[in-house]
Each structure stands twice: as C-alpha cells, then as structure tokens.
C-alpha cells in the first residue's frame, strides 16, 4: 500500500521559486498498475522522485506499507529503496562498462548479498535478452537496453516499481513488452506507478491519475 499524503514541493533557486506540487494526495493498493498522466512539465517526474525517496518534499508524507519514508535516516531510506523499490527511467541509466547480466545484478549492490545468477537468468529469459547476456549496453538496441533496465528493476523482487516515461524512447513493440511486464508484476501482487504523458501507455494501466493544478486527481 502506498499512501501519498499532501505532498508539496517547491523548486527554489536564488532568483525564483517554482511550486510544482501542492498537497498531492493519493492511495495506491498493492496489485495495482497505476499511471500518473499529465503534460510535460506538470511535475510527474518530481512526484516519482519523491515517491522513490530521492527528493525531499517540502511537506507531506510518503507511506510505504505504513512506513514513513522521509522519517527514516538517509542511510535507512537508501536501504529501503534498495529493498522495496525498483526504478525504470526513460533514459535507462545503464552502467556502460558492465554486461547485460552484470547491469541486472548491480541492483543488489547496496544489499551486499551474493549474486543470484539464477534470478538474473530467469529475468533475461523472461525479457528475451539472454543471448545479449555478455554484451555491454553500447552494443544493445534501445529496446534491449530498456528491457535490461527493467530486469534490473525486478532483480531484487521489489514491492513497488517506479517508472518514469519507460516507453518514451521505445518502438510500439518494445513498449508493449515493457507494459505487459508491468501488468504481470501488478497481477503478481506488486505495485506499479508509471508516469507518462502518452495516453496510449496510460490506457494499459488499471487506474489513471492526473496532475491537475499541481495536485493529483483520479481519472
């Protein structure tokens, strides 16, 4: 269960202040694939970063299974992030010198666990990148890169997937693979929160939320 409680976020620079979110509130149950929609610049990514514990809100709370993310120390929050959350970005953020398999296994870098090669193999099979196992990201197609990033997000068996425009750079075929994987993840009991400004992508989700007037509105 993810509870977003009255999140307010202002970007401050020396010259100006920009209020992006104002008391955004939502509640997303486990087993839900939720899409957060809205035009470019409305604050979707900002909200996602707050949900991921990477960006401090001015006020408000993010509760994940009853635990207030920002009440934790930064170390514990980082650990929770590694344990509970998986990220998928529009720009993949793969590590250029690691192979596909190593990029997937890098998800556990903060958990200090031993490498689970069976899990990596399972995900590569599932996402059809096993034959790219030893290739570095530079040698992969865009779709393969996002599938690798997706496998990395799933590697630690997180409870929540946070995706920021995951299909933004993909062809329809690969977009569908990714969206289907999200549906599968939600059907298996996980929570997916995907932000996008593509209505077609949002349609695949179980519930849609809109950012309107800096706040969340269920659509």
């Amino acid at each position: 269960m993810i509870d977003i409680q009255k999140i307010t976020k202002t970007y401050r620079s020396e010259t100006k202040e920009l209020l992006v979110l104002k008391e955004a509130t939502a509640s997303i149950k486990p087993g839900t694939f939720a899409a957060i929609c809205g035009p470019s610049g409305c604050g979707k990514s900002t909200l996602l970063l707050v949900l991921g514990g990477l960006l401090h809100p001015d006020t408000g709370r993010v509760m994940i299974d009853g635990e207030d993310l920002f009440a934790l120390s930064s170390e514990r929050r980082a650990l929770r992030r590694a344990q509970l959350l998986g990220f998928v970005f529009q720009r993949f953020h793969l590590i250029p010198y690691l192979t596909v398999e190593e990029n997937i296994e890098a998800a556990a870098i903060a958990l200090r666990g031993s490498t689970d090669q069976v899990r990596a193999k399972e995900l590569m099979d599932q996402l059809n990148i096993t034959d790219r196992r030893t290739h570095v990201p530079g040698k992969l197609s865009v779709g393969e890169q996002q599938r690798t990033a997706l496998a990395r997000a799933l590697y630690n068996r997180p409870r929540v997937l946070l995706a920021d425009e995951p299909t933004g750079n993909l062809d329809p075929e690969n977009a569908e693979i990714v969206l289907n994987a999200f549906s599968d993840f939600a059907n298996a009991g996980g929570t997916v929160i995907m932000v996008t400004h593509h209505p077609e992508a949002a349609e695949q989700a179980d519930t849609q939320w809109w950012i309107k007037n800096k706040t969340l509105v269920k659509g």
């Binding site: 990514s45 960006l55 930064s74 903060a110 958990l111």
Partner: protein, 418 residues
C-alpha cells in the same frame, strides 16, 4: 554484485585514464627518487674527485720527498758543524781553521742518538801550497762516517779513504793529467790516485781527499778535527733551529751552517705544494658544495613542479571522470548506495593509482639511476616506502575534491534530465 566488482570493471573500462593517472603519479615518485640518485651521484663524484686529488697530492709529495732525498744525497752533506770559536773570516779567506773539535766531542755526537742529523763525517780541512800543482790546494782528511744511532741511518755518503790513497779534485785532474793509479807527491810523501772526483764547480775541484791521519800529519795538525759534515733529516731541512737545539744538549758551543741551497729550495717547494694542494682541495670542496646546493635547489624546484603538475593533472582527470560518471553515480544512489560509498569508490581509485604509480615510479627512478648515472643502492627501502606513501597521499589529496563533488551529486537532478 559487490562494489569491488564494479570498481574493477570501471578501472578496466577507463584504462586509458587509469594509465594516465598512474603515469602522473609515477612521474612524482620517479622524480623524487631520480633527484635523490642524481644528488647521490653528485656526492659520489665529489668524493671521487677529492680522493683523486688527495692521491695525486700524496704522489707528488712522495715524489718530491724522493727527489729531495736523491738531491741532498747527490749534493752530499748540507750541514757543516764548526767549533763555536772558529773564525769564519779566516776559514773562508784562507781555508784555515782556528779552532778544533776534541775527539771526545766527536764521540759524543756519534752516540747522542740525534734525530735531526743523519750522517756525520768528521774532517780536517787545510789549505797548502802544492808545488806539483803550482798553486794552493785544499787537503781534506776524512776517516769515514762515524756511526750514528739514527733510525734514518743509511749507506754512508762518503766512503772512507785509506792511508796513502788520495781522491783528486776535477781541476787538479785536468791540470796535471793524473789518472787513477798515478803517483803524486805532497810534502815529500807519495800518494796513489784512487779516484778522480766529478766536477763540482766549487772549491772541491781543487781538493785532495785523503785519510784523516795523512791530512793531520801533512798539515802539521795531528789529532785535530776542524769540522763535522752532516746531512740534516728532511724534517729539519730549511730550519736549523731544531738542529741547534738538539746539539746544544750534546756539545756546547757549536756553529751550524747550512750550505746546500738547492735542497733547501726543494724542501720549500714541497711544503708550498702541500699547502697549495690543501687550498686547491678546499676550493674544489667549496665549489662542489655550492654546485651541490644549486643542484639541490634545482631538484627541489623540479620535484615541486612535477608534484604540483601531477596533482593538477590528477585533479582535472578525476573531475573529468566524475563528470562522465554522473549518470552512473545517480543510478548507484537510486540503487541504494550512500554518498559516503560514492566518495570511497572515487577515493579508492586515487589510492590505487597512487600506489601503482608510486611503485612504478620508484622502479623507474632506481633503474634510471642505475643505467644512466651508474648509481646503485641509493634508494633504501624506508626511503622508497615514504616516497610511495607520499605519492599515494598526493594522488588522494588531488582526487579528494572531485570525489567530494561526486558524493554530492544530487541523483534527483541527474535522473530527471531528459
């Protein structure tokens, strides 16, 4: 996956920049080790130079000492001892003695263990008119050197002359055409020529060297000794005071006359050369010391420049690497690594490159010293360990700021860039 695995993969991926960093760090340690080898080489060369100079000086001195010995030997006796009341005027003008040593005095000289005189030859000199020569000649009676208890006593300078024999001066030989074995008559006595003396250019050329007893009888001065010829030891050459002081204790009232000026000159030259060599050595030592301080200053400057240059280079290199790795760092943060881990990750790299560069540079420095300067064993283990640690410290400090920057990267900003 562990951070260590990622670390090693990154090193392999950015090997060019890693090699550059190692080379920069190696430049530091190689420069320090090289500078030290260079200074050591300089010192060794100075030592060699001084040693060579010392050796040459010692050679020259020994040569001169030998020269002096041969010289004074060739010149014969250089000291004449005369009774204190000898009238010098009559002696030089008429070659006649007015005072004489007693037998006892002469014996006392022989048994006195003199340190300043090496040879003692008692003699009687007396000028006579010789009819056969149609002029004045000098009778010189000698009996052979008296034994002297001296550590320096060597072969006698002048051999003894037997009774009835005579050694004739060169001028007499020339005028009278007397050969060895010829007979001659002095005051009614017949003598046989035993030797013809070489030309000396002094009064010796008109002397007749004979047995002391013969000379005493012919000159009507039986038992008289007019003087004692002596050879001063080298230690006393050029300075008669030590001789006088020593003689004072043995016989009262002796005149000491030195007459061998060339030996004196030699002796003076010898001490002058000794002094000059010492000065020269001091000059060289001083100028080498000045040169060394210049070289040391230059080495310090060079090392400082290399250290500063390498530090700047390493800082820039790490900055560039951090810039390049921003996305990676943001991702690692999203994956749960703390900023301290990021800082450590960056710093480990600096420590490792500093260590590798330090060791490599030491090796290069030592080998270069060995091959180029021919110096070995100047770089001791503690010295190299301190150079390596210093290199590690420099590399770490140079990377500290960029590493801090990496640690402070805000993942939210990087991850939200489209």
């Amino acid at each position: 996956m562990r951070a260590g695995h990622l670390f090693i993969r990154e090193l392999r991926f950015r090997r060019v920049s890693v090699v550059l960093a190692i080379v920069a760090a190696a430049a530091v340690s190689a420069c320090v080790v090289g500078a030290r080898s260079f200074l050591a080489a300089h010192d060794a060369e100075t030592e060699k130079l001084i040693a060579a100079l010392e050796e040459r000086a010692a050679d020259r001195m020994a040569q001169l000492r030998d020269d002096a010995r041969v010289f004074s030997k060739n010149l014969g006796f250089n000291i004449l001892l005369l009774p204190g009341d000898q009238d010098a005027g009559r002696l030089y003008a008429e070659n006649r003695s007015t005072a004489f040593f007693t037998r006892k005095q002469v014996q006392a000289l022989g048994s006195a263990e003199l340190a300043t005189l090496n040879h003692l030859l008692p003699m009687l000199r007396h000028q006579i008119h010789w009819d056969q020569y149609d002029g004045n000649v000098i009778l010189v009676g000698i009996e052979g050197e008296i034994y002297i208890k001296s550590p320096n006593f060597q072969k006698p300078i002048e051999e003894r002359v037997d009774a009835g024999m005579v050694h004739i001066g060169n001028a007499i030989h020339k005028r009278l055409k007397l050969q060895i074995g010829a007979q001659l008559e002095i005051e009614g006595e017949t003598f046989t020529v035993k030797r013809v003396l070489p030309q000396k250019g002094n009064i010796d050329d008109i002397s007749l060297l004979m047995n002391l007893g013969d000379a005493q009888r012919l000159s009507g001065q039986p038992g008289k000794i007019s003087g004692v010829l002596a050879l001063s030891c080298n230690c006393a050459a050029g300075d008669l005071d030590p001789i006088r002081q020593e003689l004072e204790r043995v016989v009262q009232d002796v005149q000491v006359v030195e007459f061998s000026v060339r030996a004196q000159a030699r002796q003076r030259a010898r001490s002058a050369i000794g002094k000059r060599t010492k000065e020269e050595m001091q000059d060289i030592t001083e100028s080498r010391a000045i040169l060394r301080s210049h070289v040391a200053q230059f080495a310090t400057l060079l090392v400082s420049l290399v250290v500063v240059g390498a530090a700047i280079f390493l800082t820039v290199l790490t900055f560039a690497s951090v810039r390049e790795r921003r996305s990676e760092v943001a991702l690692l943060r999203a994956l749960g690594l703390g900023s301290l881990s990021i800082f450590a990750l960056m710093l480990y790299k600096a420590v490792l490159t500093g260590l590798a560069g330090g060791i490599f540079g030491c090796l290069v420095g030592v080998l270069a010293g060995r091959w180029i300067l021919g110096i070995s064993a100047t770089a001791t283990t503690p010295f190299m360990l301190s150079v390596i640690s210093a290199t590690v410290a420099i590399a770490t400090l140079a990377s500290a700021l960029p590493a801090l920057m990496a640690a402070r990267i805000d993942p939210a900003v990087i991850l939200n860039q489209e």
